[in-house]
């Protein structure tokens, strides 16, 4: 990578296109970054929301608890979950686009 930066005769996109070793390095790093982002987003969501049944299983006292007159479980699973999923989705879209923008800037630089 250092060599590519000191002799910028052609954009890296050519290397990717010709599947040279350096092109492969860039491609693998893009795929790895995107996958890391996806796994992080999914992991955070699944761990936080899917621990809800486990929490209710471990702490039976929570099962009947109420917030604002509504049972906690109904509030979480019937209402709050939807804005949360939407926010996570939108954040991910922005983050993935940022990753791609960085990649485009990097490989098209001459």
């Amino acid at each position: 990578m250092g060599a590519a930066r000191t002799t910028p005769r052609r954009p890296v996109s050519r290397d990717i296109d010709e599947q040279t070793d350096i092109g492969e390095v860039y491609m693998r790093s893009l795929v790895r970054n995107q996958l890391r982002l996806s796994v992080a987003v999914l992991g955070a969501f699944v761990l936080s929301w899917c621990s809800i049944p486990l929490l209710f299983a471990i702490v039976p006292g929570l099962r009947g608890s109420r917030v604002l007159g509504l049972p906690l479980s109904w509030l979480l699973l019937g209402v709050i979950v939807y804005p949360v999923i939407t926010a996570v989705a939108w954040w991910y879209v922005k983050a993935a686009e940022r990753t791609e923008q960085d990649f485009s800037d990097l490989v098209e630089r001459r």
Partner: protein, 594 residues
């Protein structure tokens, strides 16, 4: 004497006809615009993002969402909320794992993706068979639900509703294919969202002027007012508490016309056509297999309310199936090719998640109100009709009729849109892969369009007739339950194929086939056993009714292990394909053939 009319038959019928006519009319607008094969399948990929998001939402919100979720909540309580949460979160999983790369792959259908990724027509064939299988499994409850809804409205035999939906879907798909479907589906999302949301306002006003009774503090489900109902199929009911009520018909094989008394825990069989009159204050006997639960159980998670065994296992297995099954549903995937590029595919998906979230706020409200105002549905076992039954019970007069008709229209829109989307994808695969190929060789070139469209039309009819026959033959399993099984099958097959295919270079054709077969066979065995011989009790029942927790890991493991064993046969152009799947469109590189 007729069963208690839940919907005014005249306005209800008008609503059904209006939705059917509007669907075909809007669809025919697309007819003039779609003339080539690619138009027919995927609207030439020229559908704008808001339209596309509404269309995806419209297609996805099926009878299971519109009617089934409320019915499940009525019978099973808060644990059932995982169904709508899973239906929505499935799109999040799809968004972060497959949306953009899948669009960039440029494939039309799942088998297209499988073939271009693994360069193997055998993988394509296995995928095609699975698409058709999952599609039919998902069409089944749509057609049965349509029959159920039409019976609720008109008293006609359920077969008539199923046939009506089948005919409208065929006419619609034949008229314009996907292009028309896009317009139709977008219209249907907004119709369904309005139809489910608007009546809630009136229902909640009526509920609060009734003193706002708490569904969770109500003891056992009890008839609030006297209610008369006619059984449309034989049921075995069990009384959770002593109950005395009037019966006219056949009880345990003997003709009865008068009051009967059931002791606590006693069960009797009521024949089809039997009329039951529950006086106000009667604790409602429950139709098997649903068992009664007191309010505190019903509103608390993991209580096993409704008689579901091993609630913690069942909840997690359901979560797995719904989260990871969405991406493998054939009608969901075909929509992604209508986005102009990978970036648009992501943005559209995020909008879809928002639209689904709005919709799913409402069905559980019907389920909860149903526990107070329509507990007799637990006696007939027809909890799936609770959404349609509530307005006439809470809002008397013409306004109630109007709201009921709006809900009937929404329910019909739900059957039509999901069924149309499924039929387009199943027919696409049938015509491209299973009807036009030499079974032991590679498929012929795809681009002879005249013949292709002709084959598609024949395939459309086949795609509808088979599940229609099945729906008339099989007994009814709960709407959302059958749909859950389709999700489990999709999660056990296409989810590993897509995720590994997109993110792992090491996937081989042999590994993919082995994994698809392992997941497909084990999940379908569980599905078949549950539908034909179930429901079973204890752990066997839980493992078979919610198979995803063991079939998905089995499929993933098989796919990975066999791929590692056949490492030498990783397709040569995998590197080029990774470039195509993952580089943003702005970067100028050769993406291989499109």
């Amino acid at each position: 004497m007729s069963p208690e009319a839940v919907v005014n038959p005249t306005t209800g019928t008008v609503a059904v006809l209006l939705v059917s006519v509007a669907t075909i009319a809007i669809g025919s607008i697309g007819l003039r615009l779609s003339r080539t094969t690619s138009d027919f399948y995927v609207a030439s990929r020229a559908v704008s993002a808001p339209w596309n998001a509404s269309a995806i939402g419209g297609e996805y919100l099926s009878a299971a969402s519109f009617l089934g979720v409320a019915g499940l909540v009525l019978a099973g309580g808060v644990d059932m909320l995982w169904f709508p949460v899973g239906y929505t979160a499935g799109y999040l999983v799809l968004l972060v794992l497959v949306a953009a790369p899948l669009r960039r792959s440029g494939a039309y259908t799942l088998p297209d993706f499988a073939q271009s990724r693994l360069v193997s027509w055998e993988v394509r064939l296995v995928s095609s068979v699975l698409v058709v299988g999952i599609g039919w499994l998902y069409l089944l409850p749509q057609l049965q639900g349509a029959g159920l809804a039409l019976r609720t409205v008109t008293g006609l035999s359920p077969a008539v509703g199923a046939v009506l939906v089948a005919v409208v879907v065929v006419v619609n798909v034949l008229a314009g294919g996907m292009r028309s479907i896009t317009f139709v589906q977008a219209f249907q999302y907004w119709l369904k969202a309005t139809a489910i949301a608007l009546p809630v306002v009136f229902l909640l006003v009526a509920w609060s002027s009734d003193g706002g009774p708490d569904p969770s503090a109500h003891g056992l489900p009890t008839a609030r007012t006297a209610v008369t109902t006619e059984l449309t199929h034989p049921v075995t009911v069990r009384a959770p508490a002593p109950a005395t009520f009037d019966v006219r018909g056949v009880v345990d094989g003997a003709a009865v016309d008068g009051p009967i008394t059931l002791e606590k825990g006693e069960s009797v069989q009521l024949a089809e056509g039997t009329v039951v009159h529950l006086p106000a204050g009667t604790v409602v006997p429950h139709a098997a297999p649903v068992s009664a639960s007191v309010g505190e159980e019903w509103s608390a998670p993991l209580s096993g309310a409704g008689g579901r065994a091993h609630p913690l296992y069942a909840t997690y297995s359901l979560i797995l199936a719904l989260f990871f099954g969405t991406m493998g549903l054939p009608h969901v995937l075909v929509r992604f090719y209508t986005n102009p590029d990978g970036r648009a595919a992501r943005r559209t998906t995020a909008v879809v998640i928002g639209l689904l979230g709005i919709f799913y706020l409402f069905p559980p409200i019907y389920g909860a109100l149903g526990r107070i105002y329509a507990p007799d549905l637990l006696l007939t076992g027809r909890t799936d009709t609770v959404v349609l039954a509530l307005p006439s019970r809470l809002v008397p007069g013409p306004l109630g009729d109007l709201l009921s008709s709006l809900l009937v229209a929404g329910a019909f829109a739900a059957f039509l849109s999901t069924a149309s989307g499924l039929v387009v994808s199943v027919a696409g695969v049938l015509s491209q892969d299973l009807m036009r190929r030499h079974w032991l060789g590679p498929p012929p070139a795809r681009r002879d369009q005249g013949r292709s469209v002709h084959t598609f039309r024949i395939a459309t009819v086949v795609a509808v007739v088979v599940p229609l026959m099945l729906s008339l033959l099989t007994t009814r399993v709960g709407l959302a339950d059958t749909v859950g099984l389709a999700f489990a099958l999709a999660a056990s097959t296409f989810c590993p194929l897509l995720v590994l295919g997109i993110w792992w270079r090491g996937l081989t054709a042999a590994g993919a086939i082995a994994g698809l077969l392992a997941g497909g066979i084990s999940a379908s065995a569980a599905v078949t056993a549950t539908m034909l011989a179930g429901p079973f009790g204890g752990w066997t029942g839980a493992l078979l009714a919610q198979p995803a927790a063991w079939t998905v890991p089995l499929a993933v493991l098989t796919m990975v292990c066999v791929s590692l064993l056949t490492r030498a046969r990783v397709p040569a152009q995998t590197g080029r394909l990774m470039i195509r799947l993952h580089t943003p469109e702005g970067v100028e590189v050769d993406r291989g053939r499109t």
